[in-house]
């Protein structure tokens, strides 16, 4: 196991949570410092809509 991974397990965990807020809440409940970032995949993850948006950006 690398030194960095060992440090992760030996130090107090601080969490940056992106996406589902319940994960941030769960981390907090277990005593970890947790910051939630509200994030959703663009266009709800639709590959077709993302492709359209990307093409329009080039115009």
């Amino acid at each position: 196991m690398s030194k960095a991974i060992n440090m992760l397990f030996s130090n107090k965990v601080a969490v940056v949570n992106a996406g589902i807020a319940a994960f941030a809440d769960a981390s907090r409940e277990q005593g970890a410092e947790s910051v939630h970032v509200e994030w959703k995949p663009p266009a709800a993850g639709s590959e077709r809509l993302i492709a359209i948006l990307n093409k329009l950006k080039k115009l």
């Binding site: 959703k40 663009p42 709800a44 809509l49 359209i52 948006l53 093409k55 329009l56």
Partner: protein
């Protein structure tokens, strides 16, 4: 900047520069094209009789009786079924009307001129609250009130306006926003400010004291009186951005109680439609969500411009009325709308948000990308014909309108080899 960004910047500048002014009181029969007693204007995108919701049908039957074409709802229904009545959506003739949006031959309209671009927009008079035609009520008291508006209120307003001169609505809206109105579900300040502008002239031109008392009681007894003026003002601004090539900014949002429609500047007159959603809000005593009709009305023109739900952060007093939880939530609504808009108004400022301008110019690309849907403050009509308003709340525009519009836009502007 690319073609789309340039076009959107231009649209935002036009919205921001728009300068609506109340310039006249007119009658539908005198100003609207191909208007006759058998033509009825309604809210939202075009719709056939058989697809209309309860309150819209109720309003239509009442409107036919209001025009004196028959005596009963049954007779009115027969006229509709026989194809004698022609329906058209208000947006097609530079008009807007709240909720069911009835505009018929004899109705008086506010004429609002956008001084910056020279176009005009029209809206009916606000009838007050409760059992009113805009919420689908059509009883004798509803028709009587509409006749009174036509025969006593509107002529007095016309004379008063002729004497006083035009009323600048942008100035009033700016002041009202600073006083806590978002001008869709809260028009308390705007209506009061408007009365202050028009009352001296009304008193001067109305010889009959009893008539003056009736008029003053009506306009001072209705906090929502200004809504229809705000709508015409917003329509005049939104029409100024129609047909800008490569522009992805929304030029109209409207609902007929069955379908929600969105127009996009660069896509001309096409409506992109999806089923109307149910507002979430508070119901008057004795009514529940079971009684409510899906979202209806041309009044989403307010949010198209940037007031109403978009300005909720500057109107904490409206929050509880529309069923939101806190002033902080209202600020969140406005901040979210900022993410899907091209810019912030340079004049319509919200003191409670550190004088931030209201978000203006909805970009369909940003709606689709972020998943943040336009938020609309709205009244709630009973789902059955003839009942009226049963509550007020918040509703979202449906996503399919925006994804369909985006796909149509891409089809129009992308070269053949780039089509998806």
């Amino acid at each position: 900047m690319g073609l789309i960004d340039n076009a959107n910047r231009e649209a935002f500048k036009r919205l921001d520069k728009s300068n609506p002014e109340l310039t006249g009181i007119v009658y539908a029969k005198d100003v609207l094209p191909e208007m006759d007693k058998y033509t009825i204007g309604h809210a939202g995108p075009p719709i056939k009789w058989e697809d209309m919701c309860g309150p819209l049908k109720g309003a239509v039957l009442g409107a036919i009786r209001y025009e004196g074409l028959c005596e009963t709802d049954v007779e009115a229904g027969v006229m509709v079924e026989s194809g004698k009545i022609k329906f058209r959506h208000n947006h097609s003739v530079d008009c807007v009307g709240p909720m069911t949006g009835m505009i018929t031959y004899s109705m008086p309209l506010f004429e609002v001129s956008n001084l910056a671009f020279g176009n005009k927009a029209y809206c009916s008079f606000n009838e007050g609250l409760g059992k009113v035609m805009r919420f689908g009520a059509n009883g004798p008291e509803v028709i009587k009130r509409l006749k009174w508006i036509e025969e006593e209120l509107a002529p007095a307003f016309k004379k008063a306006l002729d004497r006083r001169g035009p009323v600048n609505l942008k100035v009033l809206m700016t002041k009202a926003l600073a006083m806590g109105d978002e001008m869709h579900q809260r028009n308390t300040a705007a209506s009061s400010l408007f009365v202050r502008e028009i009352a001296p002239a009304l008193a001067a031109v109305t010889d009959n004291k009893e008539s003056l008392v009736r008029i003053m009681e009506f306009i001072t007894g209705n906090d929502q009186f200004f809504l229809n003026l705000a709508m015409a003002a917003c329509k005049s601004a939104a029409d100024a951005i129609k047909n800008i090539p490569y522009c992805t900014i929304v030029s109209a949002m409207s609902r007929n109680g069955t379908k929600f429609g969105v127009k996009v500047s660069g896509l001309g007159d096409a409506w992109f439609e999806a089923d109307c959603l149910m507002p979430k809000g508070l119901y008057f005593p004795g009514f529940t969500a079971e009684d409510g009709n899906p979202d209806i009305g041309d009044s989403a023109i307010c949010e198209t411009y940037g007031i109403g739900g978009f300005a909720m952060g500057g109107a904490p007093a409206v929050v509880r009325f529309v069923g939101a939880q806190s002033a902080a939530e209202a600020v969140e609504f406005t901040n979210d709308m900022m993410e899907i808009c091209e810019g912030a108004s340079s004049q319509l400022l919200m003191p409670s948000m550190d004088f931030q301008g209201v978000p203006s110019g909805i970009d369909i690309r940003k709606v689709v990308e972020t998943g943040l849907l336009p938020v609309i403050n709205t009244g709630i009509a009973h789902k059955e014909a003839g009942v009226g308003q049963v509550g007020a709340g918040i509703v979202r525009a449906p996503m399919d309108c925006f994804t369909d519009a985006l796909a149509a836009f891409a089809k129009k502007v992308l070269p053949e080899e780039e089509q998806i």
